[in-house]
């Protein structure tokens, strides 16, 4: 079996993603469409939340991917710092805009759901606040990449920022447990017995979560390919200038 480290070779990565990317992209479209159509059209209203329960099929997968994207960036950054594989640094860079948009979707859908259910668009609740800080970290991470011309220095500094921001990614996930206060409820899904959600909602929600995960993988692969090409172009132009 091929070692994972083989994909640190940009050529090998490009060759593999040539066929893998369309497969994952089609799977992402199909799975997300099934999940959202099922959730939006074929789930009953909740006795307390009414039709707003349908927002969960976007809110939970987006919030999950907002945190998971940062975790993926953290792993990729650690690989860069320890083993200096360029592809991992470029994959982290490619993942950031996706995480940013997922965080924004989580914040918007949470606010739209919160207004009729909590009576407010926003509260300085631990989970909401840590999510807002995570959003700001994403902005800072993207800004730092674009502010530094040298790609290796950019990768080093953004990797350090990613390590610091991981505190807020963890807080975003567990804030509702750390501080037993605020408006935001605990996890919607749990492996513990007596779990809160009925399968009428849980089944389409799981499908949406897989769909959003596939959207993330598709865009990370596509974005990493673009970053590899951009890096090669930069190197070629620099070589031309020196000749």
């Amino acid at each position: 079996m091929a070692s994972l480290w083989e994909y640190a070779n940009p050529l090998k990565f490009m060759r593999t993603t040539d066929w893998l990317l369309p497969v994952v992209a089609v799977a992402a479209v199909v799975v997300t469409t099934i999940g959202l159509v099922w959730g939006f059209f074929f789930t009953p209203d909740d006795f307390r939340q009414g039709a707003t329960v349908k927002i969960v099929f976007i809110h939970v997968p987006a919030a999950m991917m907002a945190i998971n994207a940062w975790v993926m960036m953290l792993v990729a950054s650690l690989v860069w710092l320890i083993r200096r594989h360029h592809v991992s640094a470029l994959a982290a860079k490619a993942a950031a805009p996706i995480g940013l948009v997922m965080t924004l979707i989580g914040l918007i859908t949470g606010a739209v759901w919160g207004q009729p259910m909590w009576g407010t668009w926003w509260a300085w609740d631990p989970r909401l606040t840590s999510f807002l800080i995570l959003f700001l970290f994403y902005l800072g991470y993207i800004a730092l990449w674009s502010a530094i011309d040298d790609p290796d220095t950019g990768a080093d500094l953004t990797a350090v920022l990613c390590l610091v921001g991981s505190v807020f990614a963890v807080l975003s996930r567990y804030a509702a447990l750390f501080w037993n206060q605020g408006l935001h409820q605990g996890a919607s899904l749990s492996v513990a017995p007596g779990t809160r959600m009925d399968w009428a909602y849980k089944a389409p929600l799981y499908i949406c979560m897989v769909g959003f995960g596939l959207i993330f993988v598709t865009l990370v692969l596509a974005g990493t390919r673009t970053e590899i090409r951009a890096r090669r172009m930069k190197a070629l132009v620099a070589r031309e200038r020196m000749a």
């Binding site: 939006f40 059209f41 927002i55 739209v112 009729p116 865009l219 172009m233």
Partner: protein, 51 residues
């Protein structure tokens, strides 16, 4: 279209905003990818042309 009752505006807004953001993100990745690929092709062509 399902009957969303009194929350039609909230639910529609959440879906439209989210799908719009994801659509814009996909479009941005695609356009940037295409633009970088074209630029790289030009540089490589120039390089091959120069020997």
């Amino acid at each position: 279209m399902p009957d969303l009752g009194r929350y039609a505006l909230e639910v529609s807004l959440a879906y439209l905003a989210s799908l719009g953001l994801i659509g814009a993100l996909v479009l941005w990745y695609w356009l940037r990818g295409r633009s970088v690929r074209q630029q790289l092709d030009e540089v490589e062509k120039r390089r091959t042309g120069n020997g």
